[in-house]
Symmetry: C2
Subunit: 372 residues, 2 copies
Amino acid sequence: MSGPSNVRWDVAVVGGGIVGLFVAWRARERGLRVTVLDAGADDGTAWPVAAGMLAPTSEAQFGPAGQRAVELGLAAAARWPSAARELGEASGIDPGLRTPGTLVLGRDRDEAEALDRERRYREELGLAVTPLLPSAARRAEPALAPTLRAAMEVADDHSVDPRRVVAGLRAVLGDAVRAGERVTEVGPDGVALESGETVAAARVVLAAGAWSGELLDVPVRPLKGQVIRLRDPDGPGLVTRTLRFSSTYLVPRADGRYVLGATVEERGFDTSVTAGGVYELLRDAGELVPGISELVVEETLAGLRPSTPDTLPLLGERDGVMLATGHGRDGVLLSALTGDLVAAMLAGEDPGPPVAHCDPARFDRAGQAVPG
Amino acid sequence: MSGPSNVRWDVAVVGGGIVGLFVAWRARERGLRVTVLDAGADDGTAWPVAAGMLAPTSEAQFGPAGQRAVELGLAAAARWPSAARELGEASGIDPGLRTPGTLVLGRDRDEAEALDRERRYREELGLAVTPLLPSAARRAEPALAPTLRAAMEVADDHSVDPRRVVAGLRAVLGDAVRAGERVTEVGPDGVALESGETVAAARVVLAAGAWSGELLDVPVRPLKGQVIRLRDPDGPGLVTRTLRFSSTYLVPRADGRYVLGATVEERGFDTSVTAGGVYELLRDAGELVPGISELVVEETLAGLRPSTPDTLPLLGERDGVMLATGHGRDGVLLSALTGDLVAAMLAGEDPGPPVAHCDPARFDRAGQAVPG
């Protein structure tokens, strides 16, 4: 143990994933004394599986909740360049921010028509998208199959490497993070650990990802995603931009590695990798980038996205506990924003307007939407 | 170290894979004092990857070498029931012999015609095969896709679990097996270890699998095979028989696990698992058994088959060293026979006629076939 149990912390953060660590980092910057209780390598933890796309424009969904998510996502994306630079300087670990942008692709007439609708929707929202002829897309990314039918460039949608971000946050936070500490109970004055110890804190932050609903009465459920992590033995260069098509994406790292994802499955806490999941990812990606067949399969794994009924996170108090959870598919993107918003609330500052979209009071105790 | 280095053994076996262990077991039964030098978990070792098919009839190849391989394979298959029983009794570990037989399948007209040729060839050789209507095949294995076009039953082609066989052989041999000992030099009087130690022995057996050609001038090369190991969360029952189709197979274990294999690739000692390899196996198997999509992917891995120019093993002396290598795709099947033949030769007994097919003298020092 790194601290005696009779210390009373300003803040105890439950969960040492990318969201909990960002909150802890930003809270410490405000002078708060912070401890992070991290259960450790939980099977299904989202960040080691995540591709790390910072892609609010590509991911824009239709409908009012979709538009609120775009606002949040743009605010988060705007913070990443400085957050990545600060984190890299503070930790000495490059967070792997890459900025060659994203291509959204269509393989056949149906997908081309859908892509056209998606482009027009983004233009209505004032988002920066550029239609590309398939020939232009293939000049930009020569590995794309000749059968490509439609393409849209999103120059501002980037990516980071979540494993590097978490390594950096852990390095910066040092022994403020207590690894292997499983929290069994959460309350306004502190938390209880599986070991029997209680950790007293003036404020408790729940950032337990897909497991948040196990600790507090919040509408967060696990949403399974399988990914395949690939490596090009010839190094980087096969694909430079993030590629997206229907629900699949291929995100390049700087070193010739790629993350190919992701399934979206309602399977509770199941984290198995299935023949069907792996097959569909490889099939979809292989149709658009035939050259992936030569890539080495380094890992196949599944993560659990902490999802809410309206896909927006829960940021704010419930039952005296500060929530920083429910980030769904956008945990990496939103973590930089959530860190700032939640740390501001913990320090008694005004977090600014985006937090209104994330008010936990929009759901009742049964997880039903409260009429606004 | 389990033995002082000044002991002179009757037999030193180089390689603790399934062939080396079978030779050692059978040699010890003949009263010989045996030590096995096992390099340990070499990346690419064949037996942990192997499906364990005992399938000389399904695997029969055309041509004279193919017919010699059938003779050897049938002789080996005939020894497995008693070998499995003895090994199970001696070790207390069930080697997982399963005897529901094999179905060879065709998915389209081309494969149906090829399957018809294969069936007639086997009938000419006097092998027991039965053509089945697709409807009968689907009654036998209801998981087969309705698109099945042709089927042939091979009731005598069975399987064992190579991981259980090796565990049993290791248990029986005890500290006769020295794990983690990498042999750097092989000679008629003993071997040199990477540690600098020399192990003296009256007879040296080279059973180093795909690495045999690194130690002695023998025409053995690695032939890469990728496999996927699957598990049905609902337990056994989806598929009962071994299923084969073109170059792919699906081999059920008793516990709901399956081995899906295998690619055949000339890639030297490369053991990477590739996106293309995994994709093709899942695609082929999924076409015939759609239900595999729900199975859990437990492992993806690659093994190196120790292959000779004519696909038959090398059993007998070269340069004063006894060869027990070059078993190619049939190492598990042939291991029970090779153990007996090589142990007999080591003990000065007549190994019987099948050994003639495996005479190393059929190749010259450059690996070229010597006219007979």
